[in-house]
Amino acid sequence: MAEGLSVRLRQRAPIPLEVALEVAPGELLALVGPSGSGKSSVLRAIAGLLRPREGRIACAGETWLDAGAGLSLPPQRRRVGFVFQHYALFPHMSALDNVAAALGHWPQAGRAARAREWLARVHLAGLEERKPVRLSGGQQQRVAVARALAGEPRALLLDEPFSAVDQVTRRKLYRELAELRRTLPIPQILVTHDLDEAALLADRIAVLHHGRTLQTGPPAELLARPASPLVARLLDQRNLFEGTVLGHEPERTWIAWAGRRLEARPAPGFAPGARVAWLIPEAQVRLLRRDPPGGRRPRDNVVTGTVVEMLALGGRVQVTLAPDGRAEAPPIAFSVAAHIIGREGIAPGAELRLSLLAAGLHLMPPEPA
Amino acid sequence: MIARLSATLLAAMLLFTAAPARADPPPPVAAASDLKFALEEAAAQFEHDTGKAVKLVFGSSGNFARQIEQGAPFELLLSADEGYVLALAGKGLMRDQGVLYAIGRIALFAPHGSPLDPAAGLDALRGVLARGQLTRFAIANPEHAPYGRAAVEALRHAGLWDAVQPRLVLGENATQAAQYAASGSTEGGIVPYSLALSTNFRDRGRYALLPAEWHAPLRQRMALTRGAGPTARAFYDWLQQPAARAIFARHGFELPEAGAR
């Protein structure tokens, strides 16, 4: 990965960091984690705005930081494009001058024209002379993106660039960023606390917690196979339970949970009798129809229970089900399209049958007690 | 001075504890700053003799005259320049034209290490000037300080004015001039003899009295204001008695004839 961005950071204070990231050219890595997890510090360290105690950062074959060797290039020589959370536009300069400010490497005479091109690329033609205060939030963000890219950076760093705009603008900006990215041959890192945003935009996600990168992988994989219950929780997975391994078959692993026997993806690493954490992503919970068309087919892991809570969110409804039987079984969450609610007669107190798809049932080491 | 001041304070405290219900608070007395040491001693003696206290405020006579004009509650003004007292009396702000209580003298003062030797009088100044050793010479501002005027007259009398004038540093009042003269930042200055004699000054250099006939007499006059109470009146009378005159004399003042108007 000589052409990409490679980041290793380690320090205890002032902010604990233990970070390992690799981003390939053209790839967008989303760095997610709760506030205070050190996301911005990682970006700042990559940009050279913060100097960690230990670490190595290299990009495009050039070493930016080698703390052991006492090497740390200043931000000016790392040439990163940085979009700050509140954009950090130069308030006394026009949009054009803001972009031109990043064109120090460009011949003086051509800067204005070049800056104009960049503003046009982010759909701001005609607003060149506006000062930042006279631009909307979305327009300011576009100026910031244009300014970050105008310097022909070797990496693009985006620090919560969508958090300060309304939702409608945000969707538009998502599409614009995706569009811009298609021709962007450099590593990109997006810091966000919005998981949907990360899953939508990123090629891979890195989960950060207390300054540590816990797991990195494509969004779907991270959601389906978190490395630990902590990662699952940080990714907002709610159907997280604990059970006991019963035994393994070649195609499946059996676990015991709340007096039931559940079939899981094969996980031969866990010894029979061992305590395990298990996860069933909401997308892997099926609602079984009261009168299924056609014959009954055998179903995985059928759980019956009572609806305890319903919450409509957009076109979908979040349903919480309390499994029947022993009282200690914790509730299971799933969501269904709004039109299913009436057809299946789902209402608080209603009896439902769910199937937890065995292919989605993921086993993890339990959390330390 | 601190010892004397604390003695005064102690006396005042004792007095207050002895007579807690005293109806007559110490009257404020305004005095020219050249009287600083003489009058503090006089007031302490007065208090010792009569059991009555006064509150002394030292400053520029001109400032006091201006303040009395504006209704400041001083009961007695001891001016370094009789002109202020006479002017106030003329405006009807004083009980009468008051009395002369002292005549100020001036002294040549040189700090330790100065090439100037006051013992030789203003001739010494001439010598130092000739040798180009005089960089700064302090006097009080003659525009408004009587001691400054007297210093200018003495310098003119000695024929030194034109030579010294470019080297002058002007003190805002006689005390500041003395401070400049003693600071070591000047080669010396002309200061009130009363200050040159004071303990604080004596140790900081050498001095010599300049002849009285080289300048117009510094006639210091005091008068009671219209609002003066019994204590201020008693102090005014006491300051004209031999005991008080002896204190003034000891502090380097010349004495007018007793009862001089």
Partner: protein
């Protein structure tokens, strides 16, 4: 009217400005952007002239500039004349007394620039000096202007310290404020009144002009 005293005051204010503009910018920027051990003490020391009476400052200057002090002697050895009772001495005193009037508004102005804006400039490839001239100074300009006006007006009006260390030498240390005091002391109310009115007018015009300019600058960024 003592034009000489007015000229002297304006010269004093101009020299003070000339010294405090670079010195103030340096100190203000350092205090705004660096964190170092004992910073609180340094800031307190620089703010002292705001709270100390002129008598205290005057006393120390008299002692420190005088022939008895090492600094006074060194100055005399270096320049061939004493520091007390000279215009140079007055300029030095004025610089010391005016440090907080210069540093504080400038420091606040530098502090008001968001860290990210300066970092963005660095990420844009601007060098340190370019960040100072293109970003920091234009953004801090109203505060810098305020500082300069305060220093100028405050120097014109400085009285206590000059009274203590100046010696009222015409053309050398008799500033307009001292000249007014001397005229008042001499009961020359007419001259004192004329000079006071002039000083008042100059101060008013200076401050009003700076306010107007600051507002214009504010609008320019808007």
């Amino acid at each position: 009217m003592d034009w000489q005293a007015l000229r002297l005051s304006i010269a004093l204010a101009s020299w003070t400005l000339a010294a405090l503009l670079p010195l103030g910018l340096l100190l203000a920027r350092l205090l705004a952007y660096r964190r170092f051990r004992g910073q609180g003490w340094v800031e307190a020391l620089l703010a002292l002239p705001l709270v100390l009476p002129p008598t205290v400052i005057g006393f120390y200057l008299l002692e420190g500039f005088g022939a008895a002090s090492g600094f006074g002697r060194a100055w005399e050895a270096l320049f061939g004349h004493r520091l007390v009772f000279t215009f140079e001495g007055l300029v030095l005193a004025s610089i010391l007394v005016n440090v907080p009037f210069a540093v504080q508004p400038m420091q606040r102005a530098f502090e008001a620039i968001p860290r990210e804006v300066r970092e963005a400039a660095a990420c844009c490839g601007m060098g340190r000096w370019r960040i100072v001239t293109r970003i920091e100074l234009p953004l801090a300009w109203p505060g810098i202007l305020t500082a300069l006006v305060l220093v100028f007006a405050h120097t014109l009006g400085e009285f206590g310290v000059v009274l203590m260390v100046g010696g009222s030498i015409p053309g050398e240390t008799r500033t307009i404020a001292i000249a007014i005091y001397d005229r008042v002391q001499a009961f020359d109310d007419a001259a004192a009144g004329r000079m006071s009115a002039l000083l008042l007018a100059i101060s008013l015009v200076t401050i009003a002009a700076s306010y107007a300019l600051t507002r214009r600058l504010g609008r320019r960024d808007g």
